[in-house]
Point group: C2
Chain length 205, copies 2
């Protein structure tokens, strides 16, 4: 038994030795595949091919296509998923501005905007992708923010989502649809108008 049997879920030995960076490398490639082809047309086989590995290795690390997608979203959203505590920690009356600055910091940088946009597009075009996105955004991002608000449970989550809606809608019009004059407007002007609204959603009457 020197030759391992190759089967789904167990990568060939040569690839098992590929080192600790392999998981991240596959996710990078997966993110690009989902961005280029969309969720429907991307495949585990195509991701494996682009990464130069056996599809079994992708299955081994992540499971199904849905799970590869979830992992690649988690990687892109990682900074945001770690941020809520820091954003809402500290004085609550500055939380609106901190959330707004953090959000536009991510969207205004082309390097982080492209993968985010790919996720949003996938989530708008495919029910499975929407479900994955919804789970992460609702249960991780919004729920963590809501926990810090001094409000009844249901209301806190609703208000956090209306604050998110102002941010998401502004990003759609400014960065995706590129409606003028908003697309070229000074970012500080936009933040100055949006932050108080986010604050009202979070802590207003």
């Amino acid at each position: 038994m020197t030759e391992p049997v190759r089967r789904r879920g167990r990568p060939p030995r040569a690839q098992q030795d590929a080192g600790p960076g392999m998981r991240e490398r596959i996710l990078d490639v997966a993110r690009e595949e989902f961005a280029e082809r969309g969720y429907d047309k991307a495949s585990v086989r195509g991701i494996a091919k682009a990464a130069g590995v056996d599809p079994a290795l992708v299955h081994h690390y992540f499971g199904t296509k849905e799970q590869v997608f979830a992992a690649s979203i988690e990687m892109v959203l990682a900074p945001a998923l770690e941020a809520p505590a820091a954003l809402v920690d500290g004085p609550l009356d500055g939380a609106g501005e901190r959330m707004t600055r953090f959000f536009f910091g991510v969207w205004d940088a082309p390097a982080t905007r492209a993968p985010l946009l790919a996720i949003v597009r996938s989530a708008l075009n495919n029910e499975v992708a929407a479900g994955v996105f919804r789970g992460l955004v609702a249960s991780q991002l919004l729920a963590r923010i809501a926990q810090r608000l001094d409000l009844p449970e249901g209301e806190a989550e609703l208000r956090a989502s209306l604050a998110a809606a102002q941010l998401v809608g502004t990003a759609m019009l400014r960065y995706v649809i590129k409606v003028e004059p908003l697309a070229s407007a000074d970012l500080e002007w936009v933040i100055a108008r949006i932050a108080p609204v986010v604050q009202v959603h979070l802590t207003g009457p």
Copy 2:
């Protein structure tokens, strides 16, 4: 010369006699084709086939695929494009609530939500479609609202677009991504929280 020469831009005689409802019928079919296939995959040939007419007739009425798309968006948005004057006419201090009610009236009804959603998806996925959408939204909807605001020209349009961003973002999270508890929240509760924000964007300090 009893047989007309069939060429691009001139429909065959039998179809020219199809009556005044033909233009609307083609647009209905086009809307469904764009919704089902997306902008990239929809074609004038496919639209003509689904409508049971010659592609030349579609070209005759509308021109290129981009122009068919623009016409089908205009048909879907017609109520909204006619509404701004009525929405912003009357006392400005009720404009936030009138806009919010009108917007959610359209999105909350499944019959009008489906075609709107198809347009939004196309605009998020294709640059040409985004351009058509941007032109209609920016030059017709937002500019007409901005005209009624008692503000410097550039600022009025920016504020109208931030008000639109709150509405659009809420629709994305509630009706498209379906984030809970927002997706199941009572519509009147949502309107009561959103309308004052829209009002602040339009007429606040």
